[in-house]
């Protein structure tokens, strides 16, 4: 496993990746708002371009402020390295195409974010990369879906929005037995609650827009390489083991071993596609990550109190959170999330789709919008927004019912969130009477 720091998570969140700069002693990480970097000599420039040395060339590929964020997240997750991207979706796209080429195949969980499902089902298909969707904790189904040309297994550590927790050790074992890595979107969990690499996962992806940043002010993504997958032994990923012509036939696996995957992303996707994160965005996200562990404790506590309150309300038909025994993956959550399985919860109210709409429209404090993981409490009706592009059958398999209300519990005083929800339920009551 790729343990990358001997410091505690709170210390990593504040310090990792940066030491006060020797020129001015700036305690906070500076924003290196520059496109490019001066080469000491022509030979120095040539060496950087040929990956003979580490360093910065152009901010599409690397940037010092972004690198601090990358190193900090890699340390939090226990990875060998990380690459930040413009968004969580671009992080997923880059991770997929670094491992897959035309003619390849992916096995994915059905319970995933709507845009990720569209990427896998439709966008990648245009490039002849096929995907089979399975109930990810069904071990027989997972094994049965893996084909000769399968290059990775994908899931979310906590599925969006059905809140099904993926059994990461079991999934990893099946994938590894078949010589393929596991890519996990851990956005809902953050390394504060669960470090997938410690459970056998090979690559972790986040939308850092969400809890990692926490303030809802910047869009970004990250890919973390666990560093332990033996690309040479599996010999299923020529992008990492075969000579790469643009860099004089380099073999990333032979040359860089535990950092081969990240080096390939840097050399290919960041260079040729350019889904880079801006230094200002990295700076904003660094401010959020400094308090990640404190915030996550509060997020989880508020989610727990909200869940318990909702369970007692007559107009609430059902409540779902992985920490509730009714959740089908509760036992997995207990094992993988000892400090609480996140701050996302779902519930349905009387009146079905209309009841849900009435509840959302009556809220004042909580915001109805298409985001999660803000410090503020957010609510959404997925059937009419994030998952609206899915047909009924696909929506059902993704764990979404028409009445489902998705809540991203914030860190406000929980009494105030409950007060707002009381207003929402009054509106539901007026509708169903």
């Amino acid at each position: 496993m790729g343990k990358s720091s001997f410091l505690g998570p709170e210390t990593i969140a504040l310090h990792s990746g940066y030491q006060p700069d020797p020129l001015y002693g700036s305690r906070a990480a500076p924003i290196y708002q520059t496109t490019s970097y001066v080469f000491d000599t022509v030979d120095e420039g040539a060496s950087l371009f040929n990956i003979e040395k580490g360093g910065h060339i152009y901010s599409r590929i690397t940037n010092p402020t972004v690198a601090i964020l990358e190193q900090r997240i890699a340390a939090l997750e226990g990875g060998s390295g990380a690459v930040c991207t413009a968004s969580g979706m671009s992080a997923l796209y880059v991770a997929f195409i670094t491992l897959c080429s035309a003619g390849d195949h992916i096995v994915s969980a059905t319970q995933i974010y709507g845009s990720t499902a569209t990427l896998l089902r439709h966008t990648l298909k245009r490039f002849d990369i096929e995907c089979t969707f399975v109930s990810i904790n069904d071990e027989d189904a997972l094994q049965g879906a893996i084909q000769k040309n399968t290059k990775l297994v994908f899931c979310e550590s906590i599925g969006n929005p059905g809140l099904e927790v993926s059994d990461l050790p079991a999934i990893s074992k099946i994938a590894h037995d078949n010589g393929i890595p596991v890519v996990v979107d851990a956005t809902f969990a953050t390394p504060s609650l669960c470090k997938p690499i410690e459970h056998g996962v090979d690559i972790v992806v986040h939308s850092v827009t969400k809890w990692m940043g926490g303030h809802g002010v910047a869009i970004g993504g990250v890919i973390v390489d666990g560093g332990s997958f033996d690309w040479g032994k599996s010999a299923k990923h020529p992008t990492l083991t075969e000579p790469y012509e643009p860099f004089h036939g380099i073999s990333f696996w032979e040359e860089y071993g535990p950092s081969a995957f990240v080096m390939r992303i840097r050399a290919e996707s960041m260079r040729d596609l350019g889904p880079s994160m801006s230094p200002h965005t990295a700076f904003l996200l660094l401010q959020g990550i400094e308090t990640l562990n404190l915030r996550m404790r509060r997020h989880v506590e508020n989610a727990k109190q909200l869940t318990q309150w909702l369970l007692k309300q007559e107009l609430v038909r059902w409540v779902n959170h992985p920490d509730l025994p009714e959740n089908s993956t509760h036992s997995i959550a207990e094992r993988l999330f000892p400090n609480g399985a996140g701050s996302m919860l779902c519930f349905g109210v009387e009146g079905g789709r209309e009841g849900g709409s009435a509840f959302l429209d009556a809220l004042v404090l909580c915001s109805n919008l298409a985001n999660v993981g803000d410090s503020r409490t957010l609510v959404l009706h997925p059937a009419s927004t994030t998952h609206s592009r899915l047909d009924d059958e696909t929506m059902k398999s993704a764990g979404i019912s028409p009445d489902l209300i998705r809540v991203s519990a914030g860190i406000e005083s929980v009494e105030d969130i409950i007060q707002d929800f009381k207003v929402g339920l009054k509106a539901v009551g007026r509708l169903v009477k």
């Binding site: 030491q19 580490g54 690198a67 190193q71 340390a75 060998s80 390295g81 840097r266």
Partner: protein, 263 residues
């Protein structure tokens, strides 16, 4: 490239270029539990600047077959055999930590073929704590953890990396966990001929030290430099794992010395 040494397939990293034994060849020898991957950010520069690179995985390490060798003397002989198989004639030896002890043993066998000798974070002997050896015998990854705590300097411990986005401690841990660390540590601990061999070295020598090196404190490196009458450079804010921790400054020091002594 793959060559056969004593019947076993042996992986030699060549810095991304086709190996040409006629060129002056920089031979990178890794320390305990390490392999060619620890030299990734030094070897490639030489391969693209007029040199051949020969960075072997010793038997039983990383991509090489065979049983791990149990003494520094055996490793020194093996390295010369590997260089003979590859047909190398003009040799610049660079060794990190235990790798330098191996380089010393090879140096006396190579005689006139050896052009320069470089020690990176090393000394004439490197005794190893018994607890570390015992730990390595029962758990390679636990021993690797101990070494990484001591081996990396304060900046690296705080997650600062010379290569954007990377975490050298995690990379080092992964490499060490894959290799026969206990065997290497015992070989390193048992080696005592370093001082007498160093006194016999007559080629130009270079000693690169780290100011935060807790595993081979720089005072021992200075003693080595005195015996070799070597050029000395000390890298600040870095620990024992110089090739991975301070790759650019380590490369700068190696290349300025070797290029100065290349015809």
């Amino acid at each position: 490239m793959i060559i056969k040494v004593n019947k076993y397939k042996t992986f030699i990293a060549t810095g991304g270029q086709v190996f040409d034994p006629k060129k002056p060849t920089v031979v990178f020898v890794p320390g305990s539990g390490l392999d060619h991957r620890c030299w990734a950010l030094q070897s490639r520069w030489f391969a693209f600047h007029g040199y051949s690179v020969f960075a072997p995985d010793f038997p039983g390490h990383s991509l090489s077959e065979g049983d791990p060798l149990v003494s520094i003397e055996e490793m020194g002989i093996w390295l010369v055999e590997a260089l003979d198989v590859a047909g190398v004639d003009s040799i610049h030896l660079v060794g990190h930590s235990m790798g330098f002890l191996i380089a010393l043993e090879s140096a006396v066998l190579l005689k006139g073929r050896l052009k320069t000798l470089t020690a990176v974070a090393s000394a004439t002997s490197i005794p190893v704590n018994e607890y570390l050896i015992t730990t390595a015998e029962s758990s390679t990854s636990s021993a690797a953890d101990l070494m990484l705590r001591w081996g990396f300097g304060s900046h690296a411990q705080l997650g600062v990396s010379a290569v954007p986005g990377m975490q050298p401690i995690a990379i080092g841990r992964q490499i060490m966990s894959d290799n026969p660390l206990a065997t290497d540590l015992k070989a390193c601990h048992n080696y005592s001929a370093g001082k007498s061999i160093a006194e016999r070295v007559d080629c130009p020598s270079n000693v690169i030290l780290a100011d935060e090196d807790k595993m081979t404190p720089s005072k021992f490196g200075m003693e080595l430099a005195s015996i070799l009458n070597a050029k000395v450079s000390k890298i600040k804010n870095s620990g024992h794992m110089l090739p991975m921790e301070s790759p650019k400054r380590t490369l700068d020091s190696i290349k300025s010395f070797i290029t100065e002594h290349t015809n």
